[in-house]
Amino acid sequence: MEYLLLIISAILVNNFVLSRFLGICPFLGVSKKISTALGMSGAVVFVITIASAVTWCLQTYLLVPLGLDKFLQTLSFILVIAALVQLIDIVMKRFAPPLHAALGIFLPLITTNCAVLGVAVLNMKEGYGFFKSVLFGFAAALGFALALLIFTGLREKIERAAPPRCFKGVAISLVTAGLLSLAFMGFSGLVK
């Protein structure tokens, strides 16, 4: 039950994009076509899940024993996540070329995204254990993917519609994102 609540909370109630406003850059940047949005979502789920696991280990076995967790968290997390994603990129290219072709260009893009770092820092703030951290990361990434895919679907529709001229392009996209965020606000209170 506790894990179910954690998942629902991360996906719907505290959605990373629409409630916490993290990861807005890819949310607006790669939401023009469903195919690219799917690639990005896959990359985000992949990176965030692995990053939560690695940062948890880093925090528990290195930063806390050395008493550095108060001020060195951000720097060391970014460093480790960036190196890790590069490593995964190389390994994936060698052993899983189709997966690399699908996620390849999105992996470096998402590396130092605030959503990735946000998950890692929130895990530590909430004091989650290893399994809970990974689960929270996975669920948060799914929430990001959900928001991104919904938004992309809306944008594809809007592309074909004829909004007033002054709203065309980015303006109507931002208005749509705002409305979508309002809709997700309706979930607040579902889970404390």
Binding site: L58, L62, L63, L66, G67, L68, F71, L72, L75, S76, L79, V80, A82, A83, L84, Q86, L87, I90, V91, K93, R94, P97, R165
Partner: protein, 269 residues
């Protein structure tokens, strides 16, 4: 140890460990790339214009080497480039037709009416957004040079209020085609010399009211052109797939919008 030393050592250690891991991975796990891709990339002009339909020259080189693309799609490189790549890869070079952009409007400021004085941003899209543009004709060239600003080779100039493409300079990258808010620019074979320089789909009297050199839809040219000019509503459109050599079409056009331009120069061959 004081915190400064610890943190320096810690971050330095993490950095070193990551760097070592990456170096080892790069050394033992990297996938060897076909060396021909690099060579072909060097043979391409490096303009990265995207006219071939790929994301830059390197991407196009990859497509050529892997056999997904013909080697004659590079407009800036021209036939010489296509032949060099074909010889390098041991393939037969397919014939290449040079194409150029053309602005399908000849209603300059002496012929076409401007129904308002536009003082806004010097940009066609901005002018178009301001009550549909200042030109009397809703199809004609606005002449604020949006096409010229995206041209990577400066082949487009505004002459007397309308855009003109310099055939010799044009590399057919297609950027101006996308930039024109009125969709007046087309890519046509460079060998074609006779064009209908009008895009107005209005009926004859409506065209006459706003422009001295517009297509009035009289159909005289379609009879003379032997199928190379067809009617699209009230507008004559050249079918560039068919040869159009009858110069009578130019002389007989009552709207004076069928024009013959100078023979195509081929700087690439």
């Amino acid at each position: 140890m004081d915190p400064i030393t610890t943190s320096t050592l810690c971050i330095g250690g993490i950095g070193l460990a990551s760097a070592a891991a990456l170096a080892v991975a790069e050394k033992y796990l990297s996938v060897p790339q076909d060396p021909r891709i690099g060579k072909v990339t060097e043979m391409l002009p490096g303009a990265n214009c995207g006219g071939c339909g790929y994301a830059g020259c390197a991407d196009y080189a990859r497509a050529i080497v892997s056999g997904h693309a013909e080697c004659n799609l590079c407009a800036p490189g021209g036939p010489a480039c296509a032949q060099a790549i074909a010889a390098f890869l041991g393939r037969a070079a397919a014939a290449m037709e040079r194409r150029v952009a053309i602005v399908l409007c000849c209603g300059d400021d002496t012929e076409a009416l401007r129904r308002a004085a536009y003082n806004g941003i010097t940009d066609c899209s901005a002018a178009q957004a301001t009550a549909g543009g200042d030109k009397g004709c809703t199809y004609g060239c606005l002449g604020y040079g949006s096409c010229g600003r995206v041209c990577p080779v400066n082949a487009i100039r505004i002459v007397n209020g309308i855009a003109k493409v310099d055939k010799a300079l044009c590399i057919a990258c297609g950027k101006c085609v996308a930039a024109c808010p009125r969709k007046l620019i087309k890519l046509v074979p460079a060998a074609a010399e006779i064009h209908v320089l009008c895009s107005s789909k209005d009926k004859g009297p409506a065209v006459k009211k706003v422009c001295g050199t517009g297509c009035i839809g009289c159909r005289i040219c379609t009879k003379l052109a032997d199928g190379a000019i067809n009617m699209d509503g009230f507008l004559a459109v050249v079918d560039y797939a068919k040869p159009l050599t009858n110069e009578e079409t130019v002389a007989k056009c009552p709207g004076h919008c069928i024009r013959k331009d100078a023979p195509a120069s081929t700087p690439n061959s």
